[in-house]
């Protein structure tokens, strides 16, 4: 654990992210709010660019931009809830407002700060070879925290995700559970960033789950299959990106999309056969 080469560090990080992101994605998909992860990841970008800028202005503070990114993601999720109340008739406006505000602010900060474009591309699209030991510790710690929260509140999350009204009536503290869930998303986004990049975190959260939705027959199976698909895409993605020298995040996402297409095609083939049998 202590002496890992850069490629080993990258693979360990990728494995962790490949399991955790789809796990949270399942709850988001069932809650019909997959898009929230997309907006929060863009807000995380603002946090990171703010963190980098702060590091440039006050050279004394040496906080990893990942922490400021996490902080912004959390604030963003709270803000989305607030905006949903303001636009009670156009609730779906909240996510795009936060999303574009986040990107707009980070665009200004990025171009105002003097650092080169390559550094930003690392954050935007991920760079698995640049996972340092301290990043890996951050990822391991957040992964542990996410699993702990999920294990402790599994029942509450399931019931809130499937039927908020019912959960409310049965005495689940809806506000607290929702806040915990926002915390979860923020954690997942900030941990995935190093591996797949901010613009692609949403993909790792949405695509494996979208594929699993077509196959799984129960919630447990959905969870299991999503993690399985996620891991498959991440591992294959890391391998191919290394072989062909392509950005890792992009490769992982493309492979998850291919996986999704394969599942959809398989499903269609199956139903066609069934129809033939009946005919």
């Amino acid at each position: 654990m202590l002496e890992l080469s850069f490629i080993e560090r990258g693979i360990v990080a990728a494995l962790l992210v490949g399991a955790i992101a789809p796990m949270v994605g399942v709850f988001l998909a069932v809650r019909r709010s997959t898009i929230i992860s997309e907006s929060l990841s863009h807000v995380t970008l603002t946090g990171i660019s703010a963190g980098v800028l702060m590091g440039q202005v006050w050279t004394v503070t040496d906080i990893s931009p990942m922490y400021t990114g996490f902080l912004f993601a959390l604030l963003g999720s709270l803000l989305i809830e607030k905006l949903r109340q303001i636009y009670d008739r156009f609730q779906e406006l909240a996510a795009p407002i936060i999303l574009s505000a986040g990107v707009g602010l980070s665009a200004v900060i990025m171009s105002a700060s003097g650092s080169g474009y390559t550094e930003w591309y690392e954050y935007l699209f991920g760079s698995i070879v640049s996972v340092r030991m301290e990043d890996l510790w951050f990822i391991i710690a957040t992964a542990g925290l996410v699993i702990l929260i999920l294990a402790l509140f599994f029942k509450e999350f399931v019931s809130v995700s499937f039927d908020q009204e019912f959960a409310k009536v049965s005495g689940i503290p809806l506000k607290k559970v929702n806040f915990l869930f926002s915390l979860l998303i923020a954690l997942v986004i900030s941990m995935s960033m190093k591996v797949v990049g901010i613009l692609l975190v949403g993909a790792l959260i949405a695509l494996p789950v979208a594929a699993a939705l077509n196959v799984a027959k129960s919630f447990k199976k959905l969870l299991l299959l999503s993690v399985l698909f996620g891991e498959a895409a991440v591992l294959a993605g890391v391998y191919f990106s290394y072989q062909f020298n392509i950005a890792t995040g992009g490769m992982i996402v493309v492979l998850s999309a291919v996986l999704l297409l394969a599942v959809l095609a398989g499903k269609r083939l199956k139903s066609m056969r069934k129809r033939e049998r009946f005919a």
């Binding site: 998909a29 019909r32 709010s33 997959t34 898009i35 992860s37 997309e38 863009h42 303001i86 636009y87 156009f90 779906e92 406006l93 996510a95 795009p96 407002i97 999303l99 574009s100 505000a101 990107v103 707009g104 602010l105 980070s106 665009a107 200004v108 900060i109 990025m110 171009s111 105002a112 474009y117 390559t118 930003w120 591309y121 935007l124 699209f125 990049g197 613009l199 692609l200 949403g202 993909a203 959260i205 949405a206 695509l207 789950v209 979208a210 939705l213 077509n214 020298n245 392509i246 950005a247 995040g249 992009g250 490769m251 992982i252 996402v253 493309v254 998850s256 999309a257 999704l260 959809l264």
Partner: protein, 293 residues
């Protein structure tokens, strides 16, 4: 302050393109927001990036493509993506909203792969992502003007039908409006506007220009017509002031434009809150009495 913009050709191009976009994006945005499709524009803009990256990759081997503006490939991809999204909606009958993130994330993933194949992680990419004052070429301006003409003609011709469709799709269908065809037309119009806004505001921020002015206008306006007028005014203010300030501050214009639009939105929400306090107090009392009874 503005004289520099009239002196140099590239700045004039950017300025004219900005005025056109500041008009087009909010006008379509009104329909988009009312139809609850705000997120679709995000997905389409990400797919546009894929198209542009694909063009950059292809033009490395096929020289004749270098003469063609990558915008057209972006438009083609974004129309293709919108058709695919409709298809996905049918596949996920119970989880329709997942179609948007699927298209959005696979679009950008594929785009990243194309970019790294083309060795394109450089300043150009940054301009595509966040916009640039310097990037508007004369051919871009002609393409954007063409889009303006096409979209305005289509809007004038089909205004009533689109309005009907936006507010009540079911009834529009029943009353014999060819909704499938019109939906397609609308999506194509959106794709065109997204692709043409991209030069100035950047791919990641196009959707902001479509939604933010409308989100602010919703709070102010009392009728659909007012919504158009307010959206256009807010859109133009943000684009023009964003462009000029970005040029003088030397930052990405997309970011500046979005921040100004956001500032207007916050002002409007704040103003309404301050003005609405009294009303809400009354309303609160009413519900309380109702509860007691």
């Amino acid at each position: 302050m503005f004289d520099l913009f009239f002196q140099y050709e590239f700045l004039r191009n950017a300025f004219l393109a900005g005025i056109i976009i500041g008009f087009l994006a909010p006008v379509l945005g009104v329909f988009i927001v009312v139809r609850r499709m705000a997120l679709v524009t995000d997905a389409l803009s990400h797919i546009t990036l894929t198209g542009i990256a694909f063009h950059l990759l292809l033009s490395q081997s096929a020289v004749f493509l270098q003469a063609i503006n990558p915008l057209y490939m972006g438009m083609a991809f974004s129309v293709g993506g919108s058709i695919l999204m409709e298809k996905l909606r049918h596949v996920y009958k119970h989880y329709q909203e997942i179609a948007v993130p699927i298209i959005m994330s696979s679009g950008i993933g594929l785009g990243v792969v194309f970019i790294s194949l083309a060795d394109g992680f450089n300043n150009d990419l940054f301009n595509y992502l966040f916009g640039s004052v310097l990037a508007v070429t004369p051919t871009d301006l002609t393409a954007i003007t063409a889009v303006l003409v096409v979209v305005v003609i289509l809007l004038v011709l089909f205004y009533k039908e689109l309005l009907f469709l936006a507010f009540d799709e079911e009834q529009a269908k029943v009353s014999g409006i060819p909704n499938k065809w019109l939906n397609f037309l609308f999506i194509v119009m959106t794709a065109l506007v997204i692709a043409s806004s991209m030069r100035i505001v950047g791919i990641l921020l196009v959707s902001a220009l479509v939604t933010l002015p409308v989100a602010a206008a919703i709070q102010l306006s009392k009728s659909f017509k007012q919504m158009f007028i307010y959206s256009i005014i807010i859109g133009e203010i943000s684009v023009i002031s964003g462009l000029v300030s970005a040029f003088y501050l030397n930052v990405a214009p997309g970011g500046m434009i979005v921040l100004i639009a956001l500032g207007i939105l916050l002002l409007v929400i704040g103003g309404r809150k301050a003005g609405g306090m009294g009303v809400r107090k009354l309303r609160g009392r009413k519900t309380l009495e109702w509860r007691k009874a």
